[in-house]
């Protein structure tokens, strides 16, 4: 589906980002894996290479413009082009609004929203010249519903949906599609650590009565990155077991 396409994915050292990179690689893409944890990202790239994928690891803090420019430059020098950008890097700094520190607000907005802006701006320069491209932003169901204790995170993800639509309109003329995938509750390291009771409680709020898997998300991303999705742009695809419709 994405044979020989070059995909740049941020936040690849674990969780959903790692799953997305794995799925794209398994379907023939060349991978530029970016992450702040270089060791973990390099270990992951070594696994991809062992499985026969062309891949490189690049350390990058997506909230720093100079690092993002360098990341895109490295990708271009290595593979000559970028066909797919997945803005996946994200963090949480949860806390109730009344007690939320300004630095926790800024940190989440800087990485989750500004980071996606910086990566999109840098990669778009290549994609507009190529006259094709796929940009996929990983948002969250809580950006649609809100969630107590996550004002910063929810705001960043809602903002990213706005960025998705705006970029989709600007870049459509260059045959570049921009979409978002909004995961619901996904089984990752983070949710694995929750007590069983709380996990059941979560599942009870989901019509399909289970937590999602990383593969549920990566399959949606794979579809949006493929030629099959060429007429879809500016959309938010919910992958949430029906918890938000």
């Amino acid at each position: 589906m994405v044979q020989d396409k070059v995909a740049l994915i941020t936040g690849t050292s674990r969780g959903i980002g790692r799953g997305i990179a794995t799925a794209l690689a398994a379907n023939g893409a060349k991978i530029v894996a970016a992450g702040t944890n270089l060791q973990a990202t390099e270990d992951f790239v070594a696994e991809l290479k062992a499985a026969g994928t062309e891949a490189i690891a690049v350390r990058c803090d997506v909230s720093v413009a100079a690092e993002v420019e360098q990341l895109v430059k490295t990708a271009k020098e290595t593979f000559g082009r970028i066909d797919i950008l997945v803005n996946n890097a994200g963090i949480t700094r949860d806390g109730l609004l009344l007690r939320m520190k300004e630095e926790d607000w800024d940190a989440v907005l800087d990485i989750n929203l500004k980071g996606a802006f910086l990566c999109t701006r840098a990669v778009s320069k290549l994609m507009t010249k190529q006259r094709c491209g796929r940009i996929i932003n990983i948002v969250s169901v809580v950006g649609q519903t809100g969630n107590p204790g996550q004002a910063n995170y929810c705001a960043s993800k809602a903002g990213l949906m706005g960025l998705t639509r705006s970029n989709a309109q600007e870049l459509a003329k260059r045959n570049i599609t921009v979409n978002a995938v909004a995961p619901g509750f996904i089984a990752t390291d983070m949710t694995d650590s929750l007590p069983e009771e709380q996990r059941q409680d979560l599942a009870a709020r989901i019509p399909l009565a289970r937590l999602g898997s990383v593969e549920d998300i990566s399959h949606a991303v794979l579809f949006l990155a493929s030629d099959h999705a060429g007429y879809i742009t500016g959309q938010v695809i919910g992958v949430n077991g029906g918890m938000y419709m």
């Binding site: 320069k125 507009t128 010249k129 600007e170 003329k173 260059r174």
Partner: protein, 77 residues
């Protein structure tokens, strides 16, 4: 080495996908050569890259014709 004028005209033709014969000094990017706002931004970026100059947004707005671009690059480089 091609002259600045030739290089500018070549970039305009490439970026806007028009024949070089159409790229005369008086041609306006939007009115005569069919450029839209995204094309003009890309054109300015291509000129910046080719001539290693930085063109401010304010200056970029004033570059509306082929002659404007040639004059600007001549002055800047």
């Amino acid at each position: 080495m091609a002259s600045i004028e030739e290089r500018v005209k070549q970039i305009v033709a490439e970026q806007l996908g028009v024949d070089e014969e159409q790229v005369v000094d008086s041609a306006a990017f939007m009115d005569d050569l069919g450029a839209d706002s995204l094309d003009t931004v890309e054109l300015v970026m291509a000129l910046e890259e080719e001539f290693d100059v930085e063109i401010s947004d304010e200056d970029a707005e004033k570059i509306q014709t082929v002659k404007n671009a040639i004059d600007y690059i001549n002055k800047a480089s």
